[in-house]
């Protein structure tokens, strides 16, 4: 076993049992139990999924602006959905459904948690691996199976499902009501597998955080990244089980003649449907009981990364660390009691709207705490405007913009008008889509030298940031105005609505589509930078190039197989000891004793 040279930053350590390195390509890179390899596998899956999902959004945008136009290549790829290259309305809905499903599950849920969480949670707490490495491998490969099922839905008879990513029955449950057949079944099966994978992963994250922390690493010294991965795992544990149950019931409704979600007496296209006693609203309750926590599953790790990076690059303590921890916990708890705000106009009891809306407004409090503390962290700092820092600042801006439109939608009175309009599309794309993705960009740019031992191109990174930051605002800003008109969402074309003809909906759509094409093009800069830098980036030989404080920066880049070579550092301080008065340097690593920070006489020079 290769000896790992211990960083001089580590003041003291505990010797632990070492794990032998796996031999052979398959054990090392395919069915690996190493959390770092699994983390990269998750990231690569998310990267592929993100580009597929982005391609689908491009089709959606193209059809909205040029509904009659023929796109030749589409005719070859999808002879049924796009005969002669002209997209049918049902093809539009299928692309929309798959865009939402792929982005929410395969990108927003996998990369922040499965990717970065897997890679860095064990290292940041001083562990050699996750608590259950084999379970971890099983989680990834179950996710991979789930992704394969979802992609397969494109190629079966009838094509991909078109009931939206929310899959509301009866549309999703009664095959006669929609044109798709087995595609919808594959969608449900895919989601069921995804739920199983996420449950296993959640258990692993929780146990790892609670049991495998290094000596001295108390909960209140944890990096905020670890806190968000930990709370996200708890959310996943409680939410995915419910979606799994709902998915199984829906599959039975579709294939086994049960009626959980389909009431009696339905007549579809003059044909009586043989179901009785189910409730379409039951699905909505189950779905959103998962669906709302899911929003936080997507965004919380981004919040953690943002707090972490703002402190690191402003060279400052995280402003109000304790308040940040409480806010993360509060968001987690409140996330479970507000699902009804998706259902104000669903026909559920109007009284429950009171409770759901007041609780929803309460989420404004932890959100306000976070925003205040992020700006507080920047205040009086010595900001280094690296590309990861720019993404993090972008995250804060997007979080504010996307969060505040939620104050409109969280009020049942105003939701009466805005529900299911583009205002909603603008809201959730800004906050859970784009803000979360900025968290991922920040994470990639920040941890790239650690993961691959090479640098990404900083210049390209900055260009990508500016194009994307301006681009996403140009896409989703005008969608609020479409919502004002009010443009209903999930319309394959708006030519059927008179008031959208006389208004300027067409111009807005045109502008948005151009902005989307620009922004999508810019993502290839990122892809190019990412792939090129893995193989030919400038080598990074330093352990701690950013002068950061947490444990991953006390080990070589890239880290050795069992992270610390059997020597787990002791922890002496919180995660963000930047610019301590009297310290020799403007940062103190968590594994630095006071003597190392202040010189031989503790207390300063």
């Amino acid at each position: 076993m290769t000896e790992v040279e211990l960083s001089p930053e580590v003041s003291e350590y505990t010797e632990v049992h070492r794990h032998p390195e796996p031999k052979g390509f398959i054990a090392k890179w395919i069915f690996s139990v190493d959390h770092k390899v699994i983390g990269i596998q998750y990231l690569l899956l998310a990267l592929v999924a993100a580009f597929v999902g982005m391609g689908l959004s491009l089709l959606v945008r193209l059809r909205l602006v040029w509904p009659e136009r023929s796109f030749g290549i589409l005719g070859d790829l999808f002879p049924v959905g796009a005969p002669d290259g002209v997209m049918t309305p049902e093809f539009y809905l299928a692309m929309l459904t798959m865009h939402g499903t792929i982005m929410v599950f395969m990108v927003l849920t996998t990369a922040p948690q499965g990717g970065f969480g897997n890679y860095f949670l064990p290292i940041q707490i001083g562990a050699a691996d996750m608590a259950f490495p084999r379970l971890n491998m099983l989680s990834f490969w179950t996710t991979f199976v789930s992704f394969s099922f979802l992609i397969a839905a494109f190629f079966v008879e009838g094509g991909a499902p078109m009931a939206g990513w929310t899959g509301y029955p009866p549309l999703s449950a009664v095959p006669e009501a929609a044109v798709q057949g087995i595609g919808q079944d594959l969608w449900v099966v895919s989601i069921a597998f995804f739920c199983i994978a996420s449950l296993l992963a959640a258990l692993n994250f929780i146990v790892t955080t609670l049991d495998l922390r290094a000596k001295g690493l108390t909960m209140m010294r944890l990096p905020l990244t670890v806190w968000t991965w930990f709370v996200t795992a708890i959310l996943g544990l409680l939410a995915f089980g419910v979606l799994l149950a709902a998915g199984v019931l829906l599959l039975m409704d579709r294939n086994m003649g049960t009626s959980f979600f389909v009431p009696g007496g339905l007549v579809v296209s003059d044909k009586a449907i043989d179901h009785s006693g189910g409730s379409p609203i039951l699905w909505q309750h189950l779905f959103w009981f998962f669906g709302h926590p899911e929003v936080y599953i997507a965004i919380l790790p981004g919040m953690g990364v943002t707090s972490h990076l703002l402190a690191t690059f402003a060279r400052k303590q995280v402003y109000g660390y304790k308040a940040m921890v409480y806010a993360i916990a509060a968001i987690g708890i409140l996330g479970f009691v507000v699902w009804g705000h998706h259902m104000f106009v669903s026909g559920m009891s109007p009284y429950s709207a009171f409770v759901f809306s007041v609780l929803t407004m309460c989420i404004g409090v932890p959100s306000a705490i976070k925003t205040f503390n992020w700006i507080g962290t920047l205040w009086g700092g010595q900001i280094r405007f690296t590309s990861p820092m720019l993404y993090s600042i972008g995250f804060v801006s997007l979080f504010v913009s996307g969060g505040l439109s939620g104050i409109f939608l969280g009020q049942p009175t105003i939701d009466l008008y805005f529900h299911d309009t583009y205002f909603v599309v603008a809201h959730f794309h800004l906050i859970m889509g784009v803000a979360a993705i900025f968290g991922m960009f920040a994470g990639v740019a920040f941890w790239f030298p650690k993961m691959f031992g090479r640098w990404m191109d900083e210049g390209l990174g900055k260009i990508h940031f500016w194009c994307t930051f301006i681009g996403v605002y140009a896409i989703f800003g005008p969608m609020h105005y479409l919502g004002m008109l009010p443009h209903p969402r999930r319309y394959a074309e708006f030519t059927g609505v008179d008031y959208l003809q006389t208004g300027s909906a067409g111009e807005l759509h045109y502008f948005i589509t151009i902005a989307a094409m620009f922004t999508i093009t810019a993502q290839f800069l990122f892809l190019f930078n990412f792939v090129k830098s893995i193989f030919a980036g400038k080598p990074c030989t330093e352990a701690n190039p950013w002068e950061a404080t947490t444990l991953e920066w006390a080990i070589p880049s890239p880290p050795p197989h069992d992270n610390f070579g059997g020597k787990v550092p002791h922890i002496y301080r919180g995660s963000y000891d930047f610019s301590l008065p009297g310290a020799k340097r403007d940062f103190a690593m968590q594994c630095n004793k006071d003597e190392a920070v202040y010189g031989s006489a503790a207390g300063g020079d």
């Binding site: 309305p89 809905l93 078109m162 509301y168 009664v174 009501a177 009431p263 009696g264 007496g265 339905l266 007549v267 579809v268 402003a314 303590q317 402003y319 660390y321 304790k322 308040a323 106009v345 109007p350 709207a353 009171f354 809306s357 007041v358 407004m361 309460c362 409090v365 306000a368 705490i369 507080g376 700092g381 010595q382 900001i383 720019l390 600042i393 804060v396 801006s397 913009s401 409109f408 009020q411 049942p412 009175t413 105003i414 008008y417 529900h419 299911d420 105005y481 004002m484 008109l485 209903p488 999930r490 074309e493 059927g496 008179d498 008031y499 208004g503 930047f578 610019s579 008065p581 403007d586």
Partner: protein
């Protein structure tokens, strides 16, 4: 000029660009045609002001911080750990604003949706229209002369024969029921909608009324409104209902009482 300067400028400009159309109302809601609709607009405006102030404040401060606190050589960042007092003020202010907005809007919500509780009105002088959604049309039913709806069986529906919801024409209550594809109501009279669906979820939405509600198969939903402006308004389906969702629409005609009576007379003669 450093990166921080440009980051600050760009954040300010974007925020301004986002805010201006809301201030100038370039893209706006159509004028409401009910008293409740105007109250909903007021709730919207208060929320716009509240969130607008917070939006500008937060983005401007963020931009300023990026602009102001760039790295200077040799200097150290300030050692700040937090400020509980400021934090408390900012978050309580946010909570008070958000919850106050919500509470203020509740009376309107109750007015729109707490219909069962007011069903005991002594003299229900209101027009009742039954709306049944189906892929991808709206069916409106009026009770006719006797003011009573006949029994309905979707299984007996005959789209081509002009009986899309399967009204029992043999039943005395059903004989004079009027089925039409577009809704016509007299101005300044309260209308109660009974919302149903034959197949999947749909959503009845008239932007000028400012209200919408899903039509749920197996359930009966109710909405009430009193339009005060004559005109033709669009009904757009606002819940994904299948491939023709985008063209599922109809019209609400608000007409004078005389025009309404004449129209009703005309419809009755078709039967």
């Amino acid at each position: 000029m450093g990166t921080g300067f440009w980051a600050g400028i760009v954040i300010w400009l974007i925020s301004l660009a986002m805010a201006i159309p809301f201030i100038t109302q370039w893209w706006w809601m159509p004028d409401p045609i009910t008293a409740l609709g105007r109250e909903i607009d007021r709730a919207f405006m208060w929320t716009l002001i509240g969130t607008g102030v917070i939006f500008i404040l937060a983005q401007a401060t963020l931009g300023y911080a990026a602009w102001k606190f760039g790295r200077r050589s040799g200097a150290r960042a300030r050692d700040m750990h937090g400020n509980n007092k400021l934090e408390l003020i900012w978050t309580s202010a946010a909570l008070v604003i958000f919850v106050a907005l919500t509470l203020a809007g509740f009376s309107v919500w109750a007015e729109v949706r707490f219909i069962e509780q007011r069903a005991a009105d002594p003299t229900p002088d209101r027009l009742v229209v039954e709306v049944t959604g189906q892929q991808f049309v709206w069916n409106m039913r009026y009770a006719g002369e006797d003011n009573k709806f006949g029994p309905v069986d979707f299984l007996q529906a005959d789209d081509a024969g002009g009986n899309p919801v399967g009204v029992d024409r043999g039943h005395p209550d059903g004989a004079d029921d009027i089925m039409v594809p577009e809704m016509r109501v007299p101005v300044n009279k309260e209308v109660e909608l009974i919302l149903k669906s034959k197949d999947v979820l749909h959503n009845f939405f008239v932007p000028e009324l400012r209200i919408k509600l899903d039509t749920v198969p197996g359930l009966v939903g109710k909405l009430r409104f009193t339009p005060d402006t004559v005109g033709k308004y669009e009904i757009v389906c606002s819940e994904l209902c299948g491939l023709g969702h985008y063209k599922m629409r109809s019209f609400l005609h608000v007409v004078s009482a005389e025009d309404y009576d004449a129209w009703l007379q005309e419809q009755a003669e078709f039967l």
